[in-house]
């Protein structure tokens, strides 16, 4: 692509949330076991967006290589920022381009706690995938009923 918008080298999260990320990718019973951090980040981002809450990232730890994101994943983050700001012309201003990734990190900052809670809320190990699947099915249900209307 000849003309691109600003892309950071990494995406990050607060140092204080590092244990949550670490547990999700290191725990054998987590659905994210041995998966890249970006997978955790994207799901956290989605849950934060669903909650409609953002939180500033303090003591940022830039641990997710931006290059590891696929093009559709990048555009997912962009589309949320477009909706937040209200227009695609925002993509022409560098300041707002930077804002896209800040928004993504802020949603993920709220979402990581929700994701962690979703997976570990029952206190039983090994149910994480089932609980995430339930979340997904809820979304599918909502979209299907939206279609029918």
């Amino acid at each position: 692509m000849e003309n691109k918008i600003f892309e950071p080298r990494e995406l990050g999260f607060p140092e204080s949330k590092r244990p949550l990320y670490a547990q999700l990718v290191e725990d054998k019973f987590s659905p994210f076991y041995k998966r890249p951090l970006k997978d955790v980040f994207l799901c956290a981002f989605a849950l934060g967006y669903k909650k409609g809450k953002r939180e500033e990232v303090l003591k940022r730890k830039a641990d997710i290589r931006f290059e590891s994101l696929s093009t559709p994943q990048k555009w997912l983050l962009i589309s949320v920022a477009v909706k937040e700001i209200g227009d695609v012309t925002m993509l022409t201003e560098e300041e707002k381009q930077r804002k896209i990734w800040v928004i993504a990190e802020e949603y993920a900052n709220v979402g990581i706690k929700l994701l962690h809670e979703t997976i570990y809320q029952t206190g039983y190990v090994g149910l994480g995938t089932k609980l995430l699947e339930d979340e997904l099915r809820k979304e599918l249900g909502a979209h299907n009923s939206e279609k029918k209307q």
Binding site: P19, D39, L42, K50, P72, L76, V82, R137
Partner: protein, 656 residues
């Protein structure tokens, strides 16, 4: 090191002096020592490790272990007030080709009342220096240089135990083997020393601020609890290993029974267990598919409204004619800079014409990133399209899972029925063994669960220590008085982190090299070359063997294939260790059926080319076809003959 001879004097069944000379011919590098069970083969393994390391660890029964190293006959015929000795001498050549001689001996004497006393063993070493054999001051150091204790089990080992290596959960064994050959004693000692030094520094600031004290105490408490949990984990792992051994023993007993109903049940149990294992693997595979689908789909589904919103905005820009752009912004800027329109009109000065052209810029906002937006338009539309089949896909996987889970349940029930059948048999021994097997299996499950819980707790406590350490660092920095100490701790912790990283890097590199070499050896040794495609050792030291269909199949390898895998792993460890020491294997083909036995015999000389090898074999292993396959490589051959009434094993050259 090359072994020339082994001399035994009154050592266990070897009464008097018995000598074995090893083949030192590089082309005929095998020495074969044959003997029936109980003839004293395994005791030769013990004699070697006792001489070199002062340890015996290869016993087939507790009875053998309790006997003591002094020959039974000599012991009972020793008169009051008399002395005797046990001596094992190993002669050979060091890596510099100089003769070397190790000898360990211990004197026994009986007092006038008939009590037997054992004196402190003596260990000596001589090496050819110039023209004379000179005593070496520190024989243990010499041994450690030639074949360190930590890795000797990869050179001197019991073939029957080898099969167990990959039979059950093997990660801990693999981890410890890799750690042994990594030879990181010095680095480990440095890490340990630095850890203790840091602990000392932290203690020295005790009493300076209440918060610092509190954090220090917290770290100490968690460190000590981690130590306790690790010790508990080690104990439970040993217990688990013991329980597994007992289950195997009971299986062997049940397999060995003469009752055909029991034999049939055991065969059926093995068949169903294998099918259950493969069903469970399939369930895991489907679970993986659900995980992949959910993790990939969740973000875009949740953000569907944002995707639709963005697409709508792009579409609006298209309707307004702003996309694709008719003119590029850079082009307009160039005209304004030049002060001349493409038609030649002067637009250098402010005026209506220049104003009109300037206004164009407002309408072509997106011109510079139009291609980028086109790409986004495509990607976001594709994301919407990908959402449609998610539900049906999940349903399809769900149906497959339900069928697999039903199959799993059926197998579990069948296993339960087999067990109930064996328990209900009117043969007390079988019934008791089955009850015991059941008991040990449930102990095994409990222990595995306990170990997993401990692992999670250790990880949690380690995370807390890490966070507390950071908090402590912050606290120390607050006070100027403590700044120097904080700096010391910070430098120490950084160094510790670097050392730990270096250690991890070294071990990871060695693990990967061993993985590569194990794979190469296994694929060259194994007869079903087309069946297996991959062997890997992951970062948690789990070994996996993948077949050509892409399925994990370590659990379904036959005893022969497992033995080849273990031999390949041992060979990789030996190669990586860099030590050139002789290999001595007791019962190398003991648990292997006829055909694979002959194949391994055929391949062993190729795989151990030019390495001095001693095989201690039973008559059942050393069949004529096996002998024939090895014949070209055999330099020396012996038969051990144990004469019970003399309590003595004779070492005879083969055929004499």
């Amino acid at each position: 090191m090359i072994l020339s001879s082994l001399e035994l004097e009154n050592y266990r069944p070897y009464r008097g002096i018995q000598t074995i000379e090893f083949s030192t011919d590089p082309e005929k590098n095998f020495t074969v020592i044959e003997g029936v069970n109980g003839a004293g083969k395994t005791q030769l393994l013990n004699a070697i490790t006792w001489c070199l390391y002062g340890q015996e660890e290869h016993f087939r029964s507790d009875k053998d272990k309790k006997r003591g190293i002094l020959n039974d006959y000599v012991k009972s015929n020793l008169g009051n007030g008399q002395k005797t000795r046990v001596r094992v001498a190993i002669k050979g050549k060091d890596t510099d080709d100089k003769a070397i001689h190790f000898e360990r001996s211990v004197v026994f004497h009986k007092d006038q009342k008939g009590n037997l006393y054992e004196e402190t063993p003596e260990f000596i070493c001589f090496k050819m220096i110039g023209r004379d054999m000179e005593p070496i001051g520190s024989p243990a150091f010499m041994i450690n240089r030639m074949l360190p204790e930590g890795i000797r089990n990869f050179f001197i080992f019991d073939g029957e135990k080898l099969d167990d290596f990959f039979r059950e959960e093997n990660a801990e064994k693999v981890k410890s083997a890799i750690s042994d050959v990594s030879q990181l004693t010095l680095l480990d000692a440095t890490i340990d020393h630095l850890d203790k030094t840091l602990d000392g520094i932290r203690t020295s600031i005790k009493g300076q601020t209440p918060k610092v004290d509190l954090l220090n105490e917290k770290m100490k408490a968690f460190s000590s609890s981690i130590e306790d949990m690790k010790a508990d984990q080690t104990a439970k792992e040993a217990e688990l290993e013991e329980v597994r051994r007992k289950v195997r023993e009971l299986d062997e007993k049940l397999n060995g029974t003469d009752v055909s109903a029991v034999k049939k049940s055991q065969a059926e149990r093995e068949r169903i267990t294998q099918m259950l294992g493969s069903t469970e693997e399939d369930i895991e595979l489907e679970n993986g598919r659900i995980r992949d689908t959910v993790i990939a789909a969740l973000p875009s589904l949740v953000c569907k409204d944002a995707i639709e919103y963005t697409l709508k905005k792009i579409s609006e820009k298209r309707t307004k004619g702003e996309l694709p752009p008719r003119i590029r912004r850079t082009f307009i800027n160039e005209l304004l800079e030049k002060g001349e329109c493409i038609c030649g009109t002067d637009i250098s000065k402010d005026g209506d014409r220049r104003k009109k052209i300037s206004q164009l810029i407002q309408k072509i906002d997106l011109s510079e990133i139009s291609e980028y937006i086109n790409e986004g338009n495509y990607e976001l539309n594709s994301a919407l399209e990908r959402m449609a089949p998610i539900g049906p896909n999940l349903d399809e996987i769900g149906q497959r899972m339900a069928a697999l889970e039903a199959r799993q349940k059926k197998y579990q029930e069948q296993l339960g029925e087999i067990s109930a059948g064996l328990k209900g048999l009117n043969i007390e021994e079988v019934s008791n063994n089955e009850f015991l097997r059941d008991k040990y299996n449930s102990q095994r499950e409990n222990l595995s669960g306990d170990i997993k819980v401990l692992q999670t707790k250790i990880k949690g406590a380690t995370d807390i220590i890490e966070m507390t350490r950071k908090e402590l660092e912050g606290e120390l920095k607050k006070s100027e008085r403590n700044a120097h100490v904080a700096n010391q701790i910070s430098v120490g912790e950084n160094a510790l982190e670097v050392l730990k990283d270096a250690r991890k890097n070294i071990v990871d590199k060695i693990r990967m090299t061993i993985e590569e070499k194990t794979r190469a050896y296994f694929l060259s040794l194994i007869w079903k070359k087309e069946t297996y495609t991959k062997i890997s050792i992951d970062e948690n030291y789990n070994v996996s063997v993948v077949n050509s269909l892409g399925s994990e199949c370590l659990g379904t390898l036959s005893a022969g294939e497992r033995q080849v895998l273990a031999l390949s792993f041992m060979a990789a460890l030996r190669e990586v260790s860099g030590f050139e020491a002789p290999i001595i294997i007791d019962t190398p083909l003991g648990r292997i059926s006829k055909e694979p036995k002959e194949r391994i015999a055929e391949m062993l000389p190729k795989y151990l080319k030019k390495t001095q090898v001693t095989l201690l074999v039973t008559d059942e292993e050393y069949t004529p076809p096996v002998k024939q396959k090895l014949s070209k490589s055999i330099g020396k051959e012996y038969v051990l003959k144990y004469v019970e009434k003399e309590s003595k094993t004779y070492v005879n050259a083969y055929g004499k």
